[in-house]
Amino acid sequence: MDKPRHQFLERTIYSREELCGDYFILWIWDEALGEKCQPGQFFEIRAHYSIADAEETRSLPKLFKPISIYDNAEGRIGFFIKKVGTGTNALYKLKAGDLLELIGPLGNGFPFVTGRRILLVSGGIGYPPLWYLQKELIKHNLLYWVHGGSGQNDVFPCDEIWTEDGSFGKKGMVTEGIRKLIAEKKIDLIYSCGPIPMLKECAGITNKLNIEHYCSLEAYMACGIGVCYGCAIPVGYENDWNYLRVCKEGPVFNAGEVLWNKF
């Protein structure tokens, strides 16, 4: 079998950036690993615990958490993370010099294209994988990136920003402006990443307009390597569909094939 072997890695965090709100970036450095990565792929990562610690504090082994590749340049791999719960909190506490446990790169990644007029749509923590993606696409395509967040702490560099509370950029859901943008910019391809309701909304539009659309989905994961079927989502056609694994057949799916009303 010449499928890529999964890797269990431990890498030192060489830098940690603290951003606004609950966001932070952890950087590791491994050129050989960087060469294997594609935009849209992710790693399962976890704060490192020594067995001694685990016994002393009785803190339990925890699931690895899926985190997209945010950046990858000359072996500098970045994870752009929002602190939302147990696992991301443990990651938040890591400092430069600490060890990170990783498995990856995992998943299929975004298809690479050239000569297209592309709209990037991100919501909340859907931002990081599109950053890596646009770096690869920008030389060969025309890009416009629109990002939505709940407030001014959830906005990052891109072409157009929407916030739900109106505290920055345009007020409203990022999906509200998409139809107009598609027409104005003559978009023929969309890449999206964000919460399910946003992706669903967006897919409704692209389906109607018959525009190619790849979306990267979020799912709660256990193994991250295709073993447990815990991360499955419904993909196919009304009468011929299956649960596919976000960690293995995804996280990027053709938005036209995801059965949004079966969630």
């Binding site: 079998m1 799912a219 994961m221 256990a222 193994c223 390597i225 073993v227 447990c228 079966k262």
Partner: protein, 263 residues
């Protein structure tokens, strides 16, 4: 205090094994072999298959609690025919340790059919009858809770094979001893336990279950004391080997928590 340690077993019924460590069905697949030395396993137990393909349960299917994992996969699998046509050849080629096929039928008759099909296949050392999946209605669970049915099932299948015949029991019963004994009387060559126990988690923000299905199966460190207690009870009830599980998810299975730590 009672002495309950047994000398380490390295043969299981009719099967000779390198090691007393095996893997728990559904938590380990070929992908995991990237992470360990296959030869350290006593045997490889595949994810449970059913006669016909199963889509499985709607997402979310996973939630990590303070001391374990809730899942409601619902035995998603490709079905017997596809397993034999596609998965089995790969397993045969890849595995250097004995293969144990875990399967589950919707009726006694279906169990029998499946066994007969599998008997015609090379490269299988034994079977694990899954009569205990908490996530599938009218399938599995009705079998595992009734000693008469467990007896009938084993009595039906045991004359049909010379291979290892393991019955995997559910902990969600009043008296594990009675059911274990029924399996032995019916001709099972070993018992494995425990499958997951009932479990549920509530999102305190909205009072909803964290799993779409409501109640799921609970595994992990939180059920270890129960697993030890039931294994002890079961081991007292029968003479055939009892295989204990209940440590932590994904490839951290111990053959026998009573003995392994002495290795």
């Amino acid at each position: 205090m009672e002495q309950i340690l047994n000398p380490l077993q390295t043969s299981l019924g009719r099967l000779k094994m390198n090691s007393p460590v095996t893997v728990a069905s559904g938590t380990f697949a070929l992908e995991n072999l990237d992470f360990i030395v296959q030869e350290h396993l006593g045997a490889y137990v595949c994810k449970t298959i059913t006669r016909y393909p199963k889509k499985g349960n709607p997402p979310p299917r996973l939630y990590e609690t303070e001391a374990g994992l809730l899942n409601s996969i619902g035995l998603q699998n490709p079905g017997l025919d596809k397993f034999i046509a596609e998965d089995l050849p790969i397993l045969r080629k890849t595995l250097t340790v004995p293969l144990i096929v875990s399967f589950s039928g919707a009726s006694l008759n279906e169990f029998e059919q499946m066994l007969e099909c599998l008997e015609n296949q090379e490269g299988i050392s034994g079977y694990e009858l899954n009569v205990s999946c908490p996530n599938v209605e009218n399938e599995g669970i009705t079998f595992g809770i009734d000693p008469d049915v467990v007896y009938k099932l084993c009595a039906l299948l045991s004359p049909l094979t010379n291979r290892e015949l393991i019955v995997k029991l559910t902990p969600n019963v009043t008296d594990i001893g009675v059911i274990t004994k029924a399996a032995e009387d019916g001709g099972a060559t070993a018992i494995s336990l425990i499958n997951t126990i009932w479990g549920m988690a509530i999102d305190y923000r909205n009072g909803m279950s964290m799993l779409k299905k409501g109640i799921g199966g609970y595994s992990g460190i939180g059920i270890k004391p129960l697993a030890l207690a039931l294994t002890y009870r079961a081991a007292q009830a029968v003479k055939i080997p009892v295989i204990a599980m209940g440590e932590f998810i994904t490839g951290r299975m111990l053959w026998n928590s009573f003995g392994l730590e002495h290795l």
